[in-house]
Amino acid sequence: MTVSPAVSGSLRNRLVLTLISGAALLAILLFFAVRNYAAQVAQQGQDNILEASAASILDAAALRDGQLEIDIPYAAFSMLATPSDDRVFYAIFQDGVFISGYEDLQLAKGADDGNWTFGAGELRGERIRQVNASRTLVGLGRQTEIEVALAQTQDALAETLDQISRNAAFLGLGFFVLTAALSFWVTTATIGQLNKLTTSVTRRGPQDLSPFRKPVPKEMAPLVSSLNSLMGRLDQSLSQSEDFIAEAAHRVRTPLATVRSYAEATLQRVERKENREALRAMVRAIDESSRAAGQLLDHAMITFRADHLEREELDLVALTHELVQRLTPIAEMKDLLLSLTGEASVEYSGDPILLQNAVRNMVDNALKYAPPDSTVEINVTATPKIQISVKDSGPGFPPDEIDMLTRRFERGQNATGTIGSGLGLTIAQDVATAHGGKLVLTNQPEGGACVILSL
């Protein structure tokens, strides 16, 4: 019986979600960082060219015979050519008075001698970048200040920025995709360790309560060690209870034998009919108790042996034959015939005591339910797989209970009135499982039960 645990969230989803949102955040940051930096660099480039151009215009200014001349070099505007054909505006001022260029271009404040000021603005409906510079000219007894404002539209810059933004976006996206893939991989690898532990827990046999010895990651060590300690305690408590049952059964069986022999002796001496009936019922109850105690002992023994299975080469047919011989007297008492059919010899490597015990329980079960004057068929085959089947012509298993009958102390509804502990088929099943096989209960089409022990 498995209780599915209460699930609250998924470690995997939480990990993936955290990693991916982290990656997305980083990618966005990366995008803006790259773009801002590139924008600064691009703007710096335009500023440098504007500065050089303005410097060359200022350099061309001279006072000749007291008259101002500004022989703007061809290169001053030529260097402002851009792939996007940005528009160029300039204005030249002498002592604050406009003398040439574009009158609507305003001189920005703070352009002192040798000082450059850069600014962004708007002119004739276009965004411009503007540089302002000034220079003082000294002539004969005269001093004049030349100021230059030079502006350029930003189409080429915008185009460069677009390109950079696109590339930065691709970079960010690529980074994000890579990181996302990586986070999936990391998460899977991490959860994989848990899955591995789960698989190795699931794969264990029902009796295997030994501690886990395989190396696990450091973080999982506490879990595994508490698991180990839990299993250790479980193992101990299980073996304690098995020991207790065996001990109890043993202690009960001996006095029961004594009580039975007293009851038998008393039965010989008692004359009255109702007293004899009571005594017979007593003997039967004692038989049943001692049989149950025996089977409990058997079961404890089988549990122990199955945990420490010792295989040896044996012949299943010989083993079954010996058993049949031993049980024949009991069968004859019930007017039943035991028939052994099948191969002449089937070699198998297993625990003879367990196997014998299992077959005996199967045959016992058949003897109990088979009607008088019928045959219990025992068949040993080696192909297609090694099987020992026991068939009787009794009432068969109740179909709706057939799956539960191999559980401990579980008895069929039709077992009322039959001596039994409900452990026989459980023992047979435990033996089959210990040998890596299984026990199959079926009903024959023509009536009667069929128990197959496959190895």
Binding site: E69, I70, I72, A75, A81, D85, V88, S100
Partner: protein
């Protein structure tokens, strides 16, 4: 007095419109609607085949073709940008300044190479070198000079032959003349020496190529410097006396440019016309006597660059300085 004022007020609006054009012609008069007003520095004779071809493809558009000098075109467009739809001029610098100052209408997806267009608004469609045109009779016993230096020497050798018989642009009046002069001066000092020599020979100054070639043809002058080769070729047809020289020392090549005006009320037709000039002429060079712009990089190498550097010589101070230097050389 009152009548006089009324009369003046009545006539005043017509002063602006009663423009004196070198030439004006309406093509495809039958078409409905407002004609596309094209203001151009190119003589109607040279341009008519292109317009007729355009109209045959777009019969719904009528075109009013107005011819004036390059400097005059610049002034008129600046003064009333909404009076015209398309501007065609050979003065690249003035055209670029108009475009830079925001008068041009940017047109998208016009298939012009980057060097033949500026800011998607100014488009080059011809490539025309400045030439020296001489009357062969003046060089009967002499070799015809092939360089500016050669021309200087020839003029210096026989000042009596050439006195009053040499001509060039008056750079103060002609936008194209100013462009050629400034570009020549940029390249070589020879220009100034040539101007000094021509100045000493009482050079005749012209506003336009057409007049200069006419005077050449009738013998008024024997040598013309910086004449547009395209004009000269058309005008000298059948006149064996004239020889067009592409100076071998260096050539100054102008690209005729066209732009649609931002204030145009007919942007679709203007777009069509500009597109036709940029693509149509290149496709059928036989339509026009104008030398078609070669789409290969060839024209790019020779021609004056279409970039903001053209603004340099238009600066008031710079222009003043250049003109005064030019006057010093030429007017003696």
């Amino acid at each position: 007095m009152r009548y006089l004022i009324a009369l003046i007020l009545l006539l005043l609006p017509h002063v602006g419109t009663a423009e004196d054009w070198e030439d004006r012609k309406l093509f495809n008069e039958g078409a409905e609607g407002r004609p596309l007003r094209v203001i151009s520095s190119t003589d109607t004779v040279l341009f008519a085949p292109l317009i007729e071809d355009f109209i045959s493809r777009n019969p719904l558009i009528s075109i009013e073709y107005l011819v004036s000098g390059t400097a005059d075109i610049y002034e008129r467009v600046r003064a009333s940008p909404d009076a015209f739809d398309v501007v065609i001029s050979s003065a690249m610098d003035l055209q670029l300044k108009l475009a830079n100052d925001g008068f041009a209408l940017p047109l998208d997806d016009i298939p012009a190479p980057p060097w033949a267009q500026w800011h998607n608004s100014l488009f080059a469609f011809t490539s025309e070198p400045a030439t020296i045109v001489v009357n062969r009779t003046a060089f009967e016993d002499q070799p015809i000079p092939q360089t500016r230096q050669g021309l200087i020497e020839a003029l210096r050798e026989r000042p009596e032959t050439f006195r009053g018989k040499v001509g060039t642009y008056d750079v103060r009046q002609s936008g194209l003349g100013y462009l050629f002069a400034t570009q020549d001066a940029r390249v070589s000092e020879t220009y100034w020496r040539l101007m000094e020599v021509m100045g000493s020979l009482d050079v005749r100054l012209y506003c336009c190529s057409g007049d200069m070639i006419r005077d050449l043809a009738d013998g008024t002058i024997l040598v013309a410097y910086n004449v547009l080769g395209s004009y000269a070729a058309v005008q000298t047809e059948g006149k064996d006396a004239l020889e067009i020289i592409l100076p071998s020392d260096f050539q100054t090549t102008m690209m005729r440019t066209v732009m649609a005006l931002d204030a145009t009320q007919n942007p679709e037709a203007a777009d069509l016309f500009v597109r036709y000039l940029v693509t149509g002429t290149a496709q059928s060079p036989e339509t026009t006597p104008l030398p078609v712009l070669s789409q290969s990089g060839e024209s790019e190498q020779e021609a004056i660059g279409l970039n903001p550097a053209l603004l340099t010589y238009l600066d008031v101070l710079k222009r003043r300085k250049f003109i005064s230097a030019w006057e010093n050389a030429v007017i003696q």
